[in-house]
Amino acid sequence: MTKEEFNIPDDKLLGQFFDKERSKILAVLRNRLSISTEDAEDIYQDACIALFDNIKNGKLKTLTCSLSTYFTQICLNRGYNFVNRGHSTASFDQMLDNTQYDEYGLAQLEAVLGLGDGLSQEQTAMMRDIVQDLPYPCEDILWAYYGDDLSMKEIADVIGFNGADSVKSKKSQCMSRLKERFTRIIKSFYE
């Protein structure tokens, strides 16, 4: 995501958010649950309304993860229910309660950032500018992989790459470039 996308005005915010979510969700439901595009579209639309209702009804008071991750879990749970239709007795509310997040651990991130001389908060925050200013296709790949936790195959599906291996190879190159840029900035910090 670019800085422009993050600074999008309020009236365009929802359109941009759901535009990105839609392509991601369709890829996830197709790849992880083998749901047809048509059924995935129905699940996505139902989940949008569920999200809207949850926010309006005050059910979603505090986010413990990003809204995107929360929304993806709603879609996945609805997808599981769709696949197991007739065998699942869980209500939608119960499914929401069962939501599990496979997030990066904050303690683990801090442990790595504290290695060696350790990175200051200011140095870590420099990465904020870098991740908002990644060149194509690193921007799409890294955000989808680290930001949305998509698999290589799903990323290939979303951004139109020719298979998971191509994405994997490109992602590794992107990380190397990101690291080089970050190292340069960190070094310039001491000069």
């Binding site: 309020d10 990003s66 496979d102 990066y104 790595v112 955000w143 930001g147 990380m175």
Partner: protein
């Protein structure tokens, strides 16, 4: 898998807390001893941390925005199908019931052939439940249905209209929520009336029985039962 890809994979396992304590300690030891790998790991950790924070902040902004907008605006922004605005018109239904009695009494005096009586019954009952639902936002679905209902009302192109209504009725009564679910009463009722206007009493009864078994409206059930009695009494 290249060495660097292998390293990235191990780093992810560590960051997602999927290593045992022993594996984690060994991995952190490797990072301490190898500045190049450590820099790569720190770059990745800083990137992930910032991405997560940025996504979280954006999510908060989106959630706040959703809290402020109407469902209509939300649907437009998310490019969802328009929701049919539904208004319960109890008073209109009551008036229709009254009108229906007047209609039945009026037609009671007629003694046409059965076919004509069936058609007449269809005409008289058309307005019995003119529409329990009123569509405010004309979308594709409601526009299509309006055309079909007008055909039923005017008795135009009944064969094709019945075919199309049958298809939509089977969708409306299906378990899956779809575009026609909210219109189940209107579609079922209009299909039954279309059958009557087409002189097909048995088909009309079957449709009404299906509607009775799927509708949630007591008023509609009552009207369907009454019409079935009328049809059987012909």
């Amino acid at each position: 898998m290249s060495n660097i890809e292998n390293f990235d994979a191990r780093l992810e396992l560590f960051l997602k807390n999927k290593m045992t304590k022993e594996e984690s300690n060994i991995f952190l030891g490797e990072l301490q001893d190898n500045p190049d790998l450590r820099e790569r790991a720190q770059a990745m950790a800083a990137a992930i941390k910032n991405m997560k924070e940025l996504k979280y902040e954006r999510g908060q902004r989106v959630a706040s925005r959703i809290e402020q907008v109407s469902e209509r605006s939300f649907r437009e922004a998310a490019q969802l199908p328009k929701k049919t605005m539904v208004i319960s018109l109890r008073s209109i239904v009551k008036m229709s019931i009254a009108a229906c009695f007047i209609g039945v009494i009026s037609f009671g005096g007629y003694r046409y052939y059965i076919y004509n009586e069936t058609v007449a019954l269809g005409n008289s009952y058309y307005a019995a439940i003119p529409t329990e639902l009123v569509v405010r936002d004309a979308d594709d679905v409601s526009s299509q249905l309006t055309l079909l209902f007008n055909n039923v009302k005017d008795g135009n192109d009944l064969d094709n209209t019945i075919l199309k209504l049958q298809e939509k009725f089977s969708q409306a009564i299906s378990e899956d929520y779809n575009d026609y679910t909210n219109y189940i009463n209107d579609i079922g009722w209009n299909l039954a009336i279309a059958h009557l206007k087409d002189g097909e009493r048995d088909d009309a009864i079957k449709t009404l029985e299906l509607l009775i078994s799927h509708t949630e409206s007591d008023i509609v059930i009552e009207k369907c039962k009454k019409l079935i009695e009328e049809i059987k009494g012909l």
